[in-house]
């Protein structure tokens, strides 16, 4: 089902907001002489409930930093992050994830479930269902150190969903996946959208972004260069890749 067939409003602010970012700035000091580097220079973003939002940008644009500030892993220098959901309803997959390699897939999901203080029956049922959903039921008893990159990515998505979150943040979810893996992850993301979840993900694979997202934002050098519906971008350039290049080289 393509993006154009979804009933997506043109203006995100008409829908309830899952995440609102206003004038977000982040300055870090680096090096022996504590040189100040401005990573985010006034980011404005709005993500509506129930939409699949793509956050794009070249390396070093500030996408991961933005996500980390949303999750509380970093503190903003200034600006606001309006998040309507508590931490218990957020799921996160980091970029190039590393998990506890001495745990099996099942043990790791159980550990993640315990951190949400899920009741035992709910936790066990969810672990089982998630392992099936990400196609790792056969590898459930295998230690994570023996997992391939793709398997790690899939267990990562599973741990991001263990609490049945309303907002799912995925940082480069397709990285390292083979084409079959990518199809599976895309189908998971579509499933989340169908269930009314809000998804925000970073990706360099623009074809996937075009296929999955309702709206996108393009960042460069710590600011949002463009934010709007995917179809608007496609209408302007015919091709998301061309549009992206135009925005970041402008």
């Amino acid at each position: 089902m393509s993006v154009l067939e979804w009933e997506v409003p043109m203006v995100a602010t008409e829908l309830p907001q899952a995440l609102t970012i206003r004038d977000l700035r982040k300055v870090v000091t680096t090096g022996f002489w504590a040189r100040r580097v401005e990573i985010l220079r006034g980011v404005d973003l709005t993500v509506a409930e129930g939409e699949v939002f793509g956050l794009l940008g070249p390396n070093g644009a500030g996408k991961t930093t933005t996500l980390k500030i949303v999750l509380g892993l970093m503190r903003p220098t200034s600006g606001t992050v309006g998040l309507t959901l508590p931490r218990e309803q957020i799921g996160y997959l980091p970029e190039n994830p590393y998990f506890y390699d001495y745990l099996t897939g099942e043990e790791f999901l159980r550990f993640s479930g315990r951190l949400f203080e899920l009741p035992a029956e709910v936790r066990e049922a969810r672990v089982r269902d998630l392992l099936n959903e990400v196609g790792l039921q056969e590898a459930a008893g295998v230690h994570l150190r023996k997992y391939s990159k793709g398997m790690l990515q899939r267990i990562g998505i599973a741990q991001a969903l263990v609490n049945d979150p309303s907002l799912v943040l995925l940082d480069e979810p397709m990285t390292g996946l083979d084409p079959i893996g990518r199809v599976e992850v895309k189908s998971i993301i579509e499933g989340l959208r169908r269930r009314g979840k809000t998804v925000l993900f970073n990706s360099h694979i623009l074809a996937d972004v075009a296929e999955l997202c309702t709206r996108i934002a393009i960042m460069k050098a710590g600011v949002v260069m463009w934010e709007g519906p995917v179809e608007t971008a496609l209408a302007q350039s015919g091709d998301l890749e061309r549009f992206f290049v135009q925005q970041v080289t402008a």
Binding site: L71, R75, P86, Y92, P97, Y98, Y100, S112, L115, F116
Partner: protein, 254 residues
């Protein structure tokens, strides 16, 4: 509390799988070799030597585990970026610190008391009679090492694992020399030296107060009531250190 327990259990699994139990095996072998060797060279004092040097070995082996594992506990999570996964969930920073601390304390208990049991059996074999005070001495060594773990975890939140380990060892040594520092507060000529010594004396945990090795080998009389108070003091010390570590860790960005 259950999140603290979850982190503690995970840490225990992580550290106990790290071949750390090999330390116990190494210690057991050392005890066996030591009992034969000491029997030959100590002129009938093998029992006393085994108790003394055995407790020293328990302390040193335990210290190695406490500082080297304790120093990398937090840093490992940051370097391997598992903190991203952890703190995206409703896990507080202090819950994380306390959970990691408790997990390592559980591992340290297994290692220390495992060595203690081997020492007890070796001394029983050599001395032909059991010495239950040895197990109490090992338990008190464990209490000292718990304090070292807490201090090392605090240092690891602000500096590298190597430096945190070195500082952890320094605190252990300073804790054993606490009475010397107290002497400096009384004997130093300069008010500045006296004041600085007093600050160091209060800041450094008095680990020697719960060391009963001298009593186990017959050089001192152990005072149970005083011991109880000192253990309480060390528990309070740990709480202060962990609160500081949590405060520092809360300010950290990843």
């Amino acid at each position: 509390m259950s999140r603290v327990f979850t982190i503690a259990l995970n840490t225990f699994k992580e550290t106990i799988r790290d071949r750390i139990l090999g330390v116990i095996v190494l210690f057991a072998l050392a005890m066996i070799v030591g009992s034969v060797w000491l029997g030959a060279i100590s002129l009938g004092q093998a029992g006393r030597m085994m108790q003394d040097f055995g407790l020293v070995a328990v302390t040193l082996f335990g210290l190695v585990v406490a500082v080297f594992v304790g120093a990398s506990l937090v840093r490992k999570e940051i370097d391997k970026r598992t903190v991203f996964v952890l703190f995206s969930k409703p896990l507080g920073r202090s819950e994380f610190i306390v959970g990691k601390f408790l997990g390592l304390c559980a591992t340290l208990f297994v290692v220390t008391m495992g060595m203690g049991v081997f020492l007890f059996l070796a001394v029983w074999y050599v001395g032909k009679s059991p010495a239950p005070d040895l197990l109490l001495a090992c338990l008190l060594i464990y209490v000292q090492l718990v304090v070292v773990v807490a201090v090392t975890v605090l240092f690891s939140t602000v500096t590298s694992p190597t430096l945190a380990s070195v500082l952890g060892v320094c605190v252990f040594i300073a804790g054993q020399l606490s009475s010397n520092v107290l002497s400096l507060t009384r004997l130093g000529h300069s008010p500045l030296v006296k004041a600085a010594s007093w600050v160091v004396f209060v800041a450094v945990p008095n680990l020697s107060a719960v060391d009963i090795k001298a009593a186990v080998v017959g050089e001192q009389v152990s005072r149970p009531a005083a011991l109880g108070l000192w253990v309480g003091y060390l528990a309070a010390y740990c709480v202060v250190v962990l609160l500081l570590a949590s405060f520092v860790f809360k300010r950290k960005e990843f």
